[in-house]
């Protein structure tokens, strides 16, 4: 079953076309990695699906619910607000810069949305938050504030925060790019754990070794288009595509 279906998506900022006719889908339990040079539109693609940007054209379906449709004459039709809200809660998003709420303690960061958005009772939310923090190896930090944590720890809190809403699919936008190299490992480990548990994920990353290791499928994007997509071994080792080759070569040289 497809958790996410994107069809013929277009998005521009003024005159700048950033997403040009992108289509792909993600099956339940699948891990999809998106790679590509800076400015190729990876973040914009995630943000469109998360309703942080309005799209210009296309269709998006999440867990069988039609989020956005486009009519024949190119008019974009968003679903009603209630459905959009439901869809939004099916998608979790982990940001490059964590974006934790600084005035909330670690545990409150994780349980506040379940209480005030999902209307869970406090006890349930708190227990759930504690077990998520334990899973992230942060039990001792529950009552600390975000500024007291390392970048890697903050990112793990933000993953717990996203998971607390029980999303059907989890998006990561370069989850390790804001971290010191010695801290990226702990985040990649957490994502690998989630993959083992069959969490459906879309991961934008510059960590090629990690993408090859964890992903079931890889999309290579350039200039707002999907240049190539396939299994990691096909794309990383046996690609016939010149642009993919050039991109990977530049990476290996760095």
């Amino acid at each position: 079953m497809a958790i996410l279906k994107v069809n013929n998506l277009y998005k521009s900022f003024g005159k700048l076309d950033v997403i040009k006719d992108i289509s792909f889908s993600v099956k339940k339990g699948e891990v999809l990695a998106i790679i590509g040079p800076s400015g190729s539109g990876k973040s914009t693609l995630l943000r469109c699906i998360n309703q942080l940007e309005r799209i210009d054209k296309g269709q998006i379906e999440v867990c069988g619910d039609r989020m956005i449709d486009s009519s024949e004459n190119g008019k974009v039709i968003y679903s009603d607000n209630e459905l959009l809200r439901k869809i939004r809660l099916n998608i979790g998003l982990v940001f490059q810069s964590f974006n934790l709420f600084p005035h909330f303690s670690v545990i409150k960061n994780v349980m506040d949305a379940p209480i005030h958005v999902l209307k869970q009772d406090r006890k349930t939310a708190e227990q759930n938050a504690l077990s998520l923090l334990e899973k992230m190896g942060l039990s001792e930090k529950a009552n600390n504030y975000p500024f007291e944590l390392s970048g890697g720890q903050q990112q793990r809190v933000s993953i717990a925060r996203a998971l607390a809403l029980n999303p059907q699919i989890l998006f990561f936008d370069e989850p390790t790019s804001a971290l010191d190299p010695e801290l990226t490992g702990e985040i990649l480990k957490v994502i690998k754990e989630l993959a083992k548990e069959k969490m459906t994920m879309v991961i934008v990353t510059h960590e090629m070794a990690f993408a090859r290791d964890v992903a079931d499928n890889v999309i290579f994007m350039d200039e707002g288009k999907i240049v190539e997509q396939g299994r990691p071994c096909d794309l990383f080792d046996n690609t016939a595509n010149e642009r993919t080759k050039a991109f990977l070569k530049r990476y290996n040289e760095r």
């Binding site: 998608i91 979790g92 934790l100």
Partner: protein
């Protein structure tokens, strides 16, 4: 000057202090909510609204408060030939309009200083717009604007003395009157001590508040 004179002066000044304090507190109570509304208006997408508010703020900040007091006190009579309002009410209106403009600019700056990522994280977690503002944004704004707001509040205590211009019987009105009739500086000095003590208390309250919000960065 005898001890009895000093007591008399102090009594009079304390009487005025009541008016000073009500002008001060009513101005705060009314101007802060008004300022929040103005700040939100200035951040809205409605161009005309923003232009009107910009003009209002620039007039309030670009002309002397004393002029505004006099204008609001005498304006109704000269412009519309209606009865001159009570001096206290005119002063209150002038102070509220003036301070709302200053507070609005502080609030707007505070709201804008919160990184866009906070709004986006809240949105992606399903918080409604209201929840985002009141649970996520506003608490952080309050921490950031506390120092600037404390400056305004301290200035306000001192500015209440300007209401003397339109004969509001606040503390400075009596101090000035006594100084003239007694040909002495002592009433002015006593008033100064009162103003100073009030601001000492306010400064203490604000540094407590700032300490209280120091638990996060």
């Amino acid at each position: 000057m005898t001890g009895e004179d000093l007591l008399k002066i102090s009594k009079l000044l304390l009487e005025g202090l009541g008016t000073t304090l009500s002008l001060f507190s009513l101005t705060l109570i009314l101007s802060i909510p008004l300022a929040i509304i103005i700040a939100i208006g200035k951040l809205s997408k409605i161009k005309i609204l923003r232009a009107v508010l910009n003009f209002y703020i620039s007039v309030m900040r670009g002309t002397p408060l004393m002029l505004q007091l006099i204008f609001i006190y005498f304006g109704p009579y000269f412009l519309f030939e209606i009865k001159t309002p009570k001096a206290f009410n005119a002063a209150l209106v002038a102070f509220v309009l003036n301070y709302a403009a200053y507070f609005a600019e502080i609030f707007r700056g505070g709201i804008e200083s919160i990184p866009i990522g906070q709004h986006e994280a809240a949105a992606s977690l399903g918080y409604t717009k209201n929840q985002t503002f009141f649970r996520i944004i506003l608490p952080q704004v309050i921490k950031r604007i506390l120092p600037a707001s404390s400056n305004e509040v301290i200035t306000l205590i001192k500015d209440t003395a300007l209401a003397t211009t339109i004969s509001v019987t606040e503390m400075f009105y009596y101090a000035n009157g006594q100084a003239n009739s007694r040909q002495s500086l002592i009433p002015i000095v006593i008033a100064g001590v009162f103003y100073y003590l009030m601001n000492l208390v306010l400064t203490m309250i604000f540094s407590r508040l700032e300490k209280k919000l120091d638990y996060y960065k």
